[in-house]
């Protein structure tokens, strides 16, 4: 086995987004991958498999996506940071276990390489239709964290951050990636392993006999965790449970349990939300974009500015929780939002909601064939300005 410090890449490397994602997972300390192969996510898996014997990682190809996520949840409780990699239809199959992950407060990362269209759709084309699914796809109430990278470097950085968030908030974190970002090759500068901030799991420190798996910290609503095999001999269940982890079927227990699960993210969303803004200070029209469409949005803003239109750009790095406050704030200042998406309206609805009538909201359907083209976005910017003049 190689010495640990030599395992991680550092310095300049030319990597595709998918490769960067696998490297990011390794750097973040991911040591377990459960997966089922599905196009186009396989490149991440291949990279991880080839690298993971260096770091004593484990991977397993399960019989379907349902069991892939189940295995990841199980492995996470052993103290290994765990992830799964999938794509649209596979993500749909995982939905039940996203709920279990939330309920058992299991840290794990799900990398969803979105593909175009509903059902099988176009397996090789870029898509953006799983945004709302990431938030609402499992039954029952929960909140989730979802990040959308837009460059190979971000694939690396956000993967690391996703693991950090999952450990900090004890929840599944979804990376909503796509093939445009994943297949893009770039020279990226990977920081030294010791400069990468890794969030450690919050472990329980008290007496073993007194451990209660869901006794949460008043400060941040998160219960400290233990690993399997440490001797705490705890029980956890997907049923509504009390702090001992035992099932209790009452509405007050449900309130105690689920309202906290929702609020542990809702009330601390400021610590999660990150947006990237460009020229929004004086803008009349702001484009709200994420992932692959943000590349076109950047172009459109530049073109619009060249034509003398005051356009700005807000890129969602964190998609969920949604930056409600910032959108509301902007809505009061500007004339219109333009939301380009590779779907028929998902984040658009969120922007419309949060603008609260303050600004007009225009949707641009961005077909996967249009990725790389900014004409439609530019047209909408002009239209938005026209409407308000």
């Amino acid at each position: 086995m190689k010495a640990v410090e030599n395992i991680f890449l550092k310095g300049k490397h030319t990597l595709s987004g998918f490769e960067a994602c696998a490297e990011g997972a390794l750097s973040a300390g991911c040591r377990f991958l459960g997966y089922y192969p599905i196009r186009p996510s396989f490149e991440i898996i291949e990279r991880f498999i080839n690298r993971c014997s260096d770091v004593d990682g484990v991977f397993v190809q399960m019989e379907d996506e349902i069991s892939a996520l189940a295995a990841v949840l199980g492995a996470s409780w052993t103290g290994r940071k765990s992830m799964t990699v999938t794509s649209g239809p596979g993500f749909s199959q995982m939905m039940e276990h996203v709920g279990l992950g939330v309920m058992l407060e299991t840290p794990c990362v799900i990398i969803d390489v979105q593909r175009s269209g509903i059902s099988e759709g176009l397996p090789n084309a870029v898509g953006g239709g799983d945004i709302m699914q990431a938030r609402w796809g499992s039954h029952g109430d929960y909140e989730i964290i979802a990040l959308a990278p837009n460059s190979p470097l971000e694939m690396f950085e956000l993967t690391v951050r996703a693991f950090n968030f999952s450990e900090r908030f004890r929840t599944p974190v979804v990376i909503l990636s796509d093939v445009v970002i994943g297949r893009k090759k770039e020279e990226i500068n990977i920081p030294d392993q010791k400069d990468i901030k890794i969030k450690k799991r919050k472990y329980y420190k008290g007496k073993k006999e007194d451990y209660l798996p869901f006794k949460y910290d008043e400060k941040d609503l998160i219960p400290p965790m233990v690993d399997i095999g440490q001797g705490c001999r705890f029980h956890v269940t997907g049923l509504t449970h009390d702090e001992r982890g035992y099932p209790v079927m009452s509405d007050s227990c449900q309130e105690w349990n689920v309202h906290r699960l929702v609020n542990k993210i809702r009330l601390f969303s400021d610590q999660i939300i990150e947006v990237e803004e460009d020229q929004t200070e004086d803008a009349d029209v702001v484009i709200v974009s994420y992932g692959a469409t943000s590349l076109d949005a950047i172009k459109a803003v530049k073109q619009a500015r060249d034509e003398g239109i005051k356009a700005g750009h807000l890129r969602l790095v964190t998609i969920w929780p949604f930056p409600e406050k910032r959108i509301s704030e902007l809505a009061r200042k500007i004339d219109a939002f333009v939301v380009p998406e590779i779907n028929y309206g998902q984040i658009f609805y969120e922007v419309e909601r949060c603008s609260r009538g303050g600004a007009e909201t225009l949707f641009v359907h961005h077909a996967s064939s249009q990725v790389g083209q900014s004409a439609d976005i530019l047209k909408s910017i002009k239209k938005a300005r026209g409407n308000n003049k």
Binding site: P89, G117, N124, V126, H139, H259, S328, G345, R353, R356
Partner: protein, 426 residues
């Protein structure tokens, strides 16, 4: 078309919602149910299984929910009205195939007897937290129709309605009942078959050679054919064109440009358009006292019955309160909400979750009015006093909130000793 008298169990019954739903399905001419047992929906499957062999309907208990929904899709293409019955976790498992059903424009009905979630949650108690999931749960874009009954009688009526909508729009229709409705025993009147109006599937009538499964007219809903009638169908969950053929470069090369360019031919956008454009025909609302209302309570399903009491209490106090009950939750009545928002002081939204439909109300009111959510995690229904209190607060509020205000229920106060939001500085 009228219902077939052989399928309709005309009479007055004292049964629970699950059974009423099963009888509704039979009355609607449902001939196939693929199911897997899950509390609290099993009584419906059991009732169907008892009656099915006698009316030529088939019941099969498949090995899991994924199989159940897949068999329903197959049965629908074989030319029969078909349905499945499930609850939260099973519903989550069905997500992939709901997408397939929507993509192939297969008419079928899913009954979801909602329970407290997430995950296994409280299987024997109520919840309403799968509402957003029914619209957004599968990957990619699609639209569905969802109905919310509030009593066993409506369980029967809406099941028939659900089948009619499914056949008319060739779309998955969700009957979003909940545990309370499913397990509540009440009087159910099943009318004579001649009084039950059924929508028949619109079959293609033209020449065989010219048939294209996804070629549509103005209604945006293409006519259907049965499998095995010699139309050489090619039905796929891949993005397809009018003739149903997948749009893919033959060698499945990971070539973005090729795949991208071809998707212009895709019929995917009709999946959303056929519902969005026909929204006005689909949406059904129950409105009460809205004319003079200052505050409108928005609710659906079982919780509307609790809300009625709160509204009653408030009315008696002289507060001008109206009641808006969503019969169709999806598609969402955007225009009506926007219209109402302009002239009232606030919406009070009550649902058994921590905020789902309330966000839609918030979106559609465009910041014109206050929105108060009275949440509940499930396991039981709201205390009407909480709703009453929220109504009163909204009626007297002078301030305009930014965003949804979450009302601190008595349950939250008793469990957490106050408002969580206040405690953590929100």
């Amino acid at each position: 078309m009228k219902a077939d008298p052989r399928d309709v169990l005309t009479g007055t019954y004292y049964i629970d919602g699950d059974i009423a739903i099963a009888y509704g399905a039979l009355a609607a001419g449902c001939k196939f149910l693929g199911g897997y047992p899950i509390t609290p929906s099993t009584a419906a499957a059991e009732a169907f299984a008892r009656k099915a062999p006698q009316v030529g309907a088939r019941f099969i208990q498949i090995e899991d929910e994924l199989g159940a929904i897949a068999s329903v899709l197959g049965a629908s293409w074989a030319g029969q009205k078909s349905m499945t019955i499930t609850s939260g976790p099973g519903y989550s498992l069905m997500m992939e195939n709901i997408g397939l059903g929507a993509a192939t424009e297969t008419p079928f009905v899913i009954v979801n007897i909602q329970r407290g979630g997430p995950s296994t949650g409280v299987p024997t108690s109520t919840g309403q937290a799968d509402m957003m999931q029914s619209k957004w749960g599968s990957n990619g874009d699609y639209e569905v129709i969802a109905l919310a009954p509030d009593s066993p009688q409506e369980g029967f009526d809406f099941t028939v309605k659900a089948f009619n909508l499914a056949e008319r729009y060739r779309v998955p229709v969700m009957l979003m009942a909940d545990e309370c409705v499913g397990h509540m025993t009440e009087k159910v009147v099943i009318p004579d078959a001649s009084e039950i109006e059924l929508e028949t599937r619109r079959f293609y009538k033209g020449k065989k050679e010219e048939y294209k499964p996804f070629k549509r007219d103005k209604s945006l809903v293409p006519p259907m054919v049965k499998a095995g009638d010699g139309y050489k169908l090619y039905i796929t969950g891949l993005s397809h064109d009018e003739s149903g053929h997948p749009i893919l470069d033959k060698k499945l090369l990971p070539d973005l440009d090729k795949a991208g360019v071809t998707n212009k031919k895709s019929t995917n956008r009709f999946l959303v358009e056929k519902i969005r454009k026909n929204r006005d025909e689909i949406i059904e609302l129950r409105e009460e006292n809205l004319e003079d209302a200052d505050v409108i309570v928005v609710s659906y399903g079982i919780i509307s019955r609790v809300a009625y009491r709160a509204v009653d209490m408030a009315r008696r106090e002289g507060l001008k309160v109206g009641m808006l009950r969503l019969i169709t939750v999806w598609p969402f009545p955007e225009d009506r909400i926007a219209e109402l928002a302009k002239r009232i002081k606030g919406f009070v939204v009550t649902e058994i979750n921590y905020g789902q439909i309330v966000f839609e109300v918030d979106r559609c009111s465009h910041g014109k009015t206050n929105i108060i959510l009275v949440p509940h995690g499930g396991g039981s229904v709201h205390d009407p006093d909480d709703i009453y209190d929220a109504i009163k607060k909204t009626a007297t509020e002078k301030k305009r909130y930014q965003g949804v205000l979450e009302y601190t229920t008595s349950l939250e106060r008793s469990v957490f000793g106050g408002s969580m939001a206040e405690k953590y500085g929100k």
